[in-house]
Every structure is written in structure tokens, then in C-alpha cells.
């Protein structure tokens, strides 16, 4: 169990430092010196548009870090508040905070009485006045409870989000949120509290492995907003293995599905979530990508993993996958409906523990690479608009396939095509 600050200690801090309107929090280890500099410049930018703003910047204090930033801070209205990162379960991916870090942030937020909280990625790419203002304005003005970012994303960027996370979240919870697993977002105080509770006590007895603000927004029918931000997290994928990240994120999302089953089973279709601001400049278009290595990975999976896939996928899907392996590279296409069913079947196998969960998630990687190859072959050089249209049709296929998920979820033994 992580060490939480005692209420008296927090009360003392509030009396000593005063209340705050805005809490900016980093939930993963961060360069404290860099944070101090960027925190001050961000606060000055925010202060130029909002007079009398009181802001607290919370950050995890790692061992051997420089002395308390709070001691050196002299900017009126700005305070740095360190918290201890406990030995709880680690975060699923490094750029997303652990549940324990989130609970610590919530404790600070309650203690200072913040109206809104902005979580920023540890690379601090979103730590500038304009971005923070864009994210927090809808919450501070009471127009929204959750504000998610919309990053500038080229056709071949954020493919895991585009292929699974976004369409699956949209299909399940009925909200068209483009980046449901973003490292930067803004929350109102009560949503922050609800999220911290979900990580502490769980939903339906199941403790959450990750914080899902987009899901929480749908779960309690909070008002959600999206804003275009000119932020790119270039370095966050360095040194990370695709299978590890895919397994971590999807494991957390599939686990979330178990806890929220009573909610998403009632939702049909989806509604648009307003997007504010103007789209940021897109990254420079990349050269066409060679799909052969991706197809090789898919075919290697099809050759070696049929007995694992046959435990997870129904016979019809296996037949279609077998057919796909025989196609020439230029003809290779994974239909949207088939991909949606594959993702749903993996979610179901995860729920039923058909085999070890780590094996289930590991066996998805070749299929995902097959989808990426199919997507690249379809989109190619067609441009941003064509890629967006393609992804919209994928999201609609996920929605159209939801009755299949419902049937298999409710009667896994009876309904097996």
C-alpha cells in the first residue's frame, strides 16, 4: 500500500500555501529543474490572460532529486508541490501515470481546493501557457468536466490508437474521442476524485490498472470536450517494444471492459464530442512505407500461432485469416468488420481466461501488424483526408460489430460462429 499524506499534513499545507484554482500535475518521474523553468514561464503566460490565478504544480519527487522546488520558488501565486511515488503497481506505459501517482495528485488537489487539474506528460511537451490554457479553459469556465487533446497526427502516426484504442472506446462508451489514452488532459475536481476512487476501490470489485479519463467521462455522463493542441510527443516510444506496449494498454482496456460491462452493454451508437480550437499544423508527410516486413510478421504468426489463435478466435475468423495469408501483397486487405471481430474476440478471451492473459495479448501482435500493412496498402499516398475517412469507416465497423460482442459476452458458449 502506498504512503498517502495524512489529512493533517495536507491541511497544514493548505493553510501554509493557500488554496489554488489550478493544479498542474506530472504523474511520472520528471526532470525537476526543467519543470521549474517551464512551470514558471507557463504560469506567467497563464497569468497574463487570467488575473489573480493561483496555481500549484505537483510532481513526483524521485530519490536524489534537487532540493524542494517549493523552497526556491518566489513567483507569487505559483507553488511547486512534490509528492512521493510509492511502490505500488507501476504504470502500464512510462508516459502514463501509475494509479498511485494519480491518487497522490488527487490528495493534493483536494487539499488545495483546486477547481481544475491538468495532467501533463513527463516529457513536458504540453507545458506551455497556450496548451494549458486550451485544455483547462472549458473546465475552469464550467463548460466541461473532461477535456481531451487532439494531437496533430499524420496517416502513419498513432496507429495503435487509430486501429484499436479509439474505435473500441468509441464503440463501447458511445463518445467519439479521438485520443482516449492521451498523456495530457484536463479534469474537473469531482472527475479527478472519481478517477482516484476507481483506482483505489475499483469498479464492480475490479481495481483499475490505468486511469481512463475518456471512459470516466462517458461512465458518469460527464460533459467532455476535445481541443486541438500543437503538441507532439516524439520521444515517448523510444526503447519500448511494441508487444509490451500493446499488451499493457490493451490489457488495461480489456480489464476496464470487465468492470464497466453493465454500462457499455446499454450503449448503442455514438455521439460526437465537440472539438474546439483550430487544428495544428500536420507533421510533414512521410515517405511511403514498405509493407513487406509487416506482412512477413503477419504470415509468420499465421504459420506458427494457429493453435493459439484457434483458442481465441472462432472458426469463421480463422478461415478468413487463412485466406488472407494466400493473397499477394498488393491484394492484402483485412476487412474492417473482420478486424473489429478479432479485437472483440481477444477482449472476450481476455475476460474468459481462455489461456494465460499474457499469451492472449502477445498473440495479437502479428494480427495488429497485418492490420497496419492492410491500412498502409489502402491509404498509401492518398493523403490526410482519405486516411481520416478510412478510420471513420473502421470506427463505424466497430459500432456495427458491437451486437456480436454483446452476444459473445453474454453467451460465450452458446454463440460461437
Amino acid at each position: 500500500m502506498e504512503r498517502m499524506q495524512a489529512p493533517e499534513e495536507l491541511l497544514d499545507k493548505k493553510e501554509r500555501g493557500g488554496a489554488a484554482d489550478l493544479l498542474i500535475a506530472v504523474t511520472s518521474p520528471v526532470d525537476a529543474e526543467k519543470l521549474a523553468g517551464m512551470g514558471r514561464s507557463t504560469f506567467e503566460e497563464l497569468g497574463s490572460t487570467t488575473s489573480g490565478l493561483r496555481c500549484v504544480v505537483a510532481y513526483p519527487q524521485s530519490a536524489g532529486a534537487p532540493a524542494e522546488l517549493a523552497m526556491r520558488d518566489e513567483t507569487p501565486g505559483l507553488r511547486f508541490e512534490p509528492y512521493t511515488l510509492s511502490d505500488g503497481p507501476p504504470s502500464v506505459v512510462p508516459w502514463l501515470g501509475s494509479p498511485a501517482a494519480f491518487r497522490a495528485v488527487e490528495s493534493i488537489s483536494s487539499a488545495v481546493g483546486a477547481t481544475a487539474c491538468v495532467i501533463v506528460s513527463p516529457d513536458l511537451a504540453a507545458m506551455d501557457g497556450a496548451t494549458i490554457q486550451m485544455l483547462v479553459d472549458p473546465v475552469l469556465q464550467g463548460r466541461s468536466d473532461v477535456c481531451m487533446p487532439v494531437y496533430p497526427s499524420g496517416p502513419f502516426d498513432d496507429l495503435l490508437n487509430k486501429s484499436i484504442l479509439s474505435p473500441l472506446t468509441r464503440s463501447l462508451y458511445g463518445r467519439r474521442i479521438l485520443f482516449p489514452v492521451a498523456p495530457d488532459f484536463a479534469l474537473s475536481a469531482h472527475v479527478l476524485s472519481a478517477l482516484a476512487d476507481a483506482t483505489q476501490y475499483g469498479i464492480a470489485g475490479r481495481r483499475q490498472e490505468m486511469v481512463w479519463p475518456a471512459v470516466e467521462a462517458s461512465r458518469v455522463e460527464n460533459r467532455a470536450t476535445q481541443v486541438h493542441v500543437a503538441v507532439r510527443h516524439e520521444a515517448q516510444h523510444e526503447g519500448l517494444d511494441l508487444t509490451t506496449v500493446l499488451g499493457g494498454l490493451l490489457g488495461a482496456l480489456f480489464g476496464e471492459m470487465e468492470g464497466n460491462a453493465s454500462i457499455w452493454q446499454r450503449i448503442r451508437g455514438s455521439v460526437a464530442v465537440p472539438v474546439m480550437g483550430t487544428p495544428a499544423a500536420m507533421p510533414a508527410p512521410r515517405e511511403p512505407v514498405e509493407v513487406r516486413p509487416l506482412l512477413d510478421s503477419f504470415r509468420l504468426g499465421a504459420l506458427n500461432l494457429p493453435e493459439v489463435w484457434s483458442i481465441i478466435l472462432p472458426p469463421v475468423t480463422l478461415l478468413e485469416l487463412k485466406h488472407l495469408t494466400r493473397l499477394a501483397p498488393e491484394q492484402f486487405r483485412i476487412p474492417d468488420a473482420l478486424w473489429a471481430r478479432i479485437v472483440y474476440d481477444f477482449a472476450l478471451a481476455y475476460r474468459l481466461h481462455s489461456i494465460s492473459r499474457s499469451h492472449i495479448l502477445g498473440a495479437l501482435t502479428p494480427l495488429y501488424l497485418g492490420w497496419v500493412a492492410s491500412y498502409i496498402l489502402e491509404v498509401g499516398n492518398a493523403g490526410q483526408a482519405a486516411a481520416e475517412a478510412r478510420l471513420e469507416s473502421l470506427a463505424q465497423a466497430f459500432e456495427a460489430g458491437k451486437p456480436y460482442l454483446l452476444s459473445r459476452w453474454r453467451w460465450p458458449d452458446r454463440f460461437n460462429p
Binding site: G205, R207, N304, V308, H353, S358, H359, T365, P366
Partner: protein
């Protein structure tokens, strides 16, 4: 002469009946003990299942980071625990039954020997079960990991690992049963060493071309990593 034969046959039949009469109470005692323990086992398993269900044992395990679920994928942990309890009682019943059999019959040598050997059999069965589960789990882990690393010989690697674990398990089982201990040790050493040597020879001689091609592919991989750089999965 005929009388002598008749008398001898009478004596033989009498001895057989005497033997049977001596053994029957033992068998009855064994069956009775087994039946009583079966009833207790059923009751205990039912109670355990009821208590664990009431305590939401499965949900609690899922909420935590328990690895137990990883090892019992198709059964719920509650069912697994209740079955373990059931079979533990059945096993205890067999042991008590054998003791009763031994006490009821004059010939105690066989029962005594079997009773002293029973823990070894149980241990061997457990080693076999665990070894089998571990072999399947490790083999599948290696297969999936190797496929995700784009290794062409993923299946061969997984099969090799599986058989190594199974051979090791077999040797441990035989050693535990004290069956030809020296021969098993020697045979295991020869077999295990033989597999490793065969693999080394296969790679060095038989599959030299395959290995060369595989290594060449690895060396000529930069274009593939360039592909990865052009894609941002997350």
C-alpha cells in the same frame, strides 16, 4: 489314495476360504474408509466452494495481481481450490483405508510396503502434473515471444524447450519413484547432453545454410527498422 486326494483338496479349499475370510474384513474396511472419506471430501469441497464464492475469492484475485489466474486459465480459482481439497481428502481416505486393510488382515507386508510407497507416488504424480503445465506454458511463451521477434524457427525453438522440460520432468519423476536411480541419472545425462549436442551439430553442420541465411537476414535488416521508424505505433 482317493481319500488322500479328497482330504488334500478339502484342506486346500479350506485354506483358500480361510485366506479369503481373512482378507474380506480388510477389503471391507478399506471400502468403508474410502466411502466415508469420499463423503467428507464432497462435503469439504462444497463448503470451501460456498465460502470462497461468498467471499468473492475470484473477484479478489482478479482485482489483485495474483499469478494464480495465469496458471489456471480455463478454471476459476474457486473451482481449482475446491478440487484440490476434494482430492486431498480422497487421498487421505486411500491412506486410511490401506491402514485399515493392514490392521484387519494378517498379511501386512504388501499393505505396509504400498503405504510407505504411496507418498512417493503422490509426489511423482504432482511433479508430472506441474512439469506438464510448466512445459506447455513455457513452450507457448517461447513460441509467441519468438514469433513477435520475427524468428523463423519459432516453432522449433518452442518444441525444443517443451521437450527439454518434459524430459527433465520425466527424469525427476523416475528419480522420485526410486526406479533405477543410477540408470535414470545416467540416461538423463546422456539424453539431455545428446539433445544439446544434436542441436549444436544441427546448427553447426546440418542447418548451416539455414543459419547463414537467417544471420544474413538479420544483418540485412536496416531497411526493416527504417520501416518501423516511418511508423509510429504509439
Amino acid at each position: 489314495m482317493w481319500n488322500q486326494i479328497e482330504q488334500s483338496l478339502h484342506q486346500s479349499v479350506e485354506r483358500v476360504f480361510t485366506k479369503v475370510a481373512m482378507v474380506v474384513p480388510g477389503i471391507l474396511a478399506f471400502v468403508l474408509a474410502l466411502l466415508v472419506f469420499l463423503a467428507i471430501a464432497w462435503l469439504a469441497a462444497y463448503l470451501i466452494r460456498w465460502i470462497l464464492t461468498a467471499a468473492r475469492f475470484d473477484d479478489r484475485l482478479r482485482a489483485g495481481t495474483s499469478r494464480m489466474i495465469e496458471w489456471s486459465p480455463t478454471q476459476t480459482p474457486t473451482l481449482l481450490v475446491s478440487r484440490i481439497v476434494f482430492w486431498a481428502f480422497v487421498l487421505a481416505g486411500v491412506m486410511v483405508g490401506l491402514s485399515a486393510f493392514e490392521a484387519a488382515s494378517a498379511e501386512s507386508l504388501f499393505a505396509g510396503y504400498l503405504l510407505s510407497y504411496l507418498p512417493r507416488i503422490v509426489g511423482a504424480v504432482l511433479i508430472l502434473l506441474v512439469g506438464n503445465v510448466v512445459a506447455r506454458f513455457v513452450s507457448r511463451s517461447v513460441l509467441i515471444g519468438a514469433v513477435n521477434m520475427n524468428l523463423q524457427y519459432a516453432r522449433l525453438l518452442a518444441s525444443g524447450i517443451k521437450w527439454l522440460v518434459l524430459v527433465l520432468t520425466g527424469a525427476m519423476v523416475l528419480d522420485h519413484l526410486s526406479i533405477a536411480g543410477g540408470i535414470v541419472d545416467l540416461a538423463f545425462g546422456i539424453l539431455f547432453g545428446g539433445i544439446v549436442l544434436a542441436l549444436a551439430l544441427a546448427v553447426g553442420l546440418g542447418s548451416r545454410d539455414l543459419v547463414s541465411r537467417s544471420l544474413e537476414r538479420e544483418v540485412a535488416r536496416p531497411p526493416e527498422s527504417a520501416t518501423e521508424e516511418k511508423l509510429h505505433h504509439f
